[in-house]
Structure formats: C-alpha cells, structure tokens
Symmetry: C2
Subunit: 227 residues, 2 copies
DNA sequence: GCTAATTAGCGTATCTCATACGCACAACCG
DNA sequence: CGGTTGTGCGTATGAGATACGCTAATTAGC
C-alpha cells in the first residue's frame, strides 16, 4: 500500500458489467466481520471464521478485500456510517454534548473499536463525516478553522480517553485490586484514599459527564473571550 | 488468567535459592522487547526475534513470561517506570501541565503504546504510580476523591486523544487526501474549508497546547467555584 | 564429594492464521 | 458458440505462538 489505506477506503467501486457476477460483496463481508467483532471480540475475527459465517471459501474474501489489516480498517470506518444528528438552534454546547455522547455510544456498541481509534490509519468516509459534523458546530461560532480543529480534538480526545475505563470496568474487576498489597498505602497514597472512600466501586458522580462539562467549560470561556 | 493480568504484573518475585541459576530475567526480556518495539514497531516483536536478540532459545522465554499477551502488558507498564517529576509550589495547573506533557512525551517515545493505552488491561505498578501522582495534585486542592479521579480522567483522556494525530502525522501524509475527491466540497464542507485555509498542513497554532489549556480552564473554573 | 531435589534452557512438534497461486466456472459479448 | 473477463475457492506455504519433555546446572543434605 504505502498510502495508509487511502485507496481502499476511498477508491471508487465501479461494477464491471462483464464476467461472473459476485456472490460476495465488500459490504457484506465488512458487515459480517463487524457482527463477529461486536459479539465475540475482534480477536475472533479470522478469515476462516468469517468465511464460514458467509458460507464461502476463505480465499474468496480476498477478491473483495486486500487483506486482514485492510478489512479491519474498513470495519472501523463502518462503525461510523451515519453521522450523529445534533440539536440545532440550541447552541454549540448542546450540539457538542450530543456529539460527544454519540461518540461514546459508538465505543460502547463496538468496544473493540476503541483500540483502533488510537492506532495508525487513514481517515475513511465515515470518520470524515463525523469530524465534519463536529467542525461545523464550531465553525458556526465564527472561530478560525484551526481553532475549530483544536476544539474538536479536545472534545474527541477527552471522549476517547474517558470511555476506556467505562468499557473496561465491565469485564475487569481487577483494576484496583493491587491496593490489597501491604505496600499500597505508602506507594499509592492517593489512589488508596480514593478507594478507601469507596468512591470508585460505588460512583456517585457521573465521571464521564463531569469531565465533559469541564472540557466544554474551558471551550466556552475561550469562545466568550474571543467573540 | 482471568485476573486481567493482575498476578503477572503484581506478583512477588522471590528468587529460589536452589536449581539452575537463570541466564535470562523477566526484566531483561521486557527491556529488550521494548527496544525492539521502539525501533521497529510492536509488530516486529515476535518471540523468535526477541530470543535471537537475547541470544537464547525461543522457549526459554516462557520460563519468565507466561505468553505473548502478558509480555505486551509488561512492556506497556514498563514504559511508565519512573513517574514524572512535577513542579511543586507553583499550583495545580503548572503541575498538571507538566504531567500532561510527560504523558505526551511517553507516547512520542513509544508510539506503539498508544493503541495499548485504550485496550483492555489491568493496571500495573508503573501506571498506578503515574495515576497516583496526578491524583495527588488535585487532592492537594482539597477536592473530593471522586472529583479528583474525574479530573485526572479528563486530562488523561484528552492527552491520549490529542497525541494520536501528532504521532500519526509523522508517517501518514494521507490523512486529508480524500479532500481531492470531487464530492469532497459538498460532502465535507467544513473539513474542506479547514484545508482550504491551509491551516492543517502548516499549523500556526499549537493544537495540543490549545486543547490542554481549554481542559485546564474548565477545571480551574470548577475548582474556583467550589473552593 | 555424592546424590537427590530443584529449576532453567531449549529442540521438536503442533496448531492456528494469513495469504500466494492457479485452476475451474459463470456470465456477457460478439 | 467460442473468447473474454472476473469470481469462487482448494491447496500449499510460511510465519508465529506455544505444549511437551529432555537435558543441564546448581544447591541441600548426607
């Protein structure tokens, strides 16, 4: 490749009128792979398993997808087919809150996608549309383009990072188990206090929402100062 | 396992006084694996390659590490051996800025670690120490423990998300290539404008720093309101 | 020292995967 | 109805992780 998957994600799909008509399609393959990943985890997505589900031979898949890595890239972008609908006329803050929650929902629906979000890949049509939607919110406030990008990055960055513990918490009750060590009290005094107050196991604060509000507060201050 | 790698990361390392003395050690293995990942990427870390570098047989590694997945977990935690030194007496904001930049430096030094940061794993001693350091900063401000966690999450989340494009930009010049498409102007009007103003290719704004300041602004407002 | 116990090093075999190659088949064109 | 073109897919290959079990190097106790 060398183009970071660009051709794959954006290449035109002209249907040849000649030759044997395809029984498979890239869409069907990606959709089925997505279903496997959602249900059994990304690790269970193998070409063999995928082919079985599709009722086809393993090598048939390669007629529609260059390889596994590229398939994964397509899967990732496929999670973002339709962009989120944002409330209009209620201001940028309401819009960005909705956007952030939509991104969060996305990662909850496809936990495997979170690790890919921070991995190297070219941007596909889906991700581009989501980005465009968010950029539009800040652009409507009259901010310079570069600031818009930075603002979206701030929100998007926060969401990605904050969603991790949420997803993790479900199937990993060992996060804070190390505090049972004798040395924990001295080595990690602050984490220790946190758990001692039981605030982690029984959260009374919407951690995600709290952080999001702070990020938006920070952006609000900037926007007001520069209006 | 089933313990999310807990035993692996936190288990005591008692040296038996009997038996053949080990030529390898978990530390040496992890350190070498880290060196490979930094130099050639995580994908190049194979048990074979690693054994060759260490001048040992492949299966010898398994005497010190349960398996590949666990090795990667150890590698990740090993990137965070020494916690960052934060300025003292200059306030929480200076401290957290230093912390955030230290996290950022970490990911720049070990780009492969970014994808792992958002993956599922138990927290190791290194990560715990970094977390503790950051928690301490907010705790010193007299905030309740739960708010401290949310605040750290906000900063950490932002950093993780914002670092990605920085790392990616280095070896992927195709990020915004899709804008050459004819339909780009209509489909992605805001991204289009962003690039049209050339603000992406030649950034005049410190995108990372801008977002960080906004996040800290938001936290500042909260801290002041609740003092 | 000698022997048994203990633990590390590691060769071999196996299993899982991704994937290159090439043949056979189906549809369309003339 | 043969040629063209693109698809379906069986087989072979090679990389990678790792279970098993033998061998080697120590030390504890006699």
């Amino acid at each position: 490749m060398g183009d970071g998957g660009y051709e794959l994600l954006w290449g035109a799909k002209t249907r040849p009128a000649r030759g044997r008509p395809p029984a498979l399609s890239r869409e069907r393959i990606v959709a089925e792979a997505l279903a496997i990943a959602d249900a059994e985890g990304l690790q269970q997505v193998s070409m063999k398993h995928l082919a079985e589900r599709l009722g086809s031979g393993v090598m048939s898949l390669y007629r529609h997808v260059p390889g596994k890595d590229e398939l994964v890239a397509l899967m990732y972008d496929a999670t973002m087919t339709d962009p989120p609908r944002l409330p209009e006329g209620e201001g940028w803050r309401a819009a960005m809150t909705a956007w952030a929650l939509a991104v969060r929902d996305l990662f909850h629906a496809h936990p495997w996608a979170l690790a890919l979000a921070t991995a190297n890949h070219a941007m596909g049509p889906g991700e581009a549309r989501w980005l465009d939607t968010a950029l539009g919110v800040f652009e409507a406030e009259g901010l310079p383009a570069e600031i818009c990008l930075a603002a979206v990055m701030a929100v998007n960055g926060y969401v990605g990072g904050a969603v991790r513990p949420e997803i993790q918490g479900q199937d990993d009750p060992h996060w804070f188990r190390f505090l049972q060590h004798e040395s924990a009290r001295e080595d990690y005094p602050h984490v220790y206090r946190l758990v001692a107050e039981n605030s982690f196991t029984v959260p009374t604060v919407d951690v995600f929402g709290f952080g999001l509000e702070r990020v938006l507060d920070g952006l609000e201050r900037y926007i007001e100062d520069h209006r």
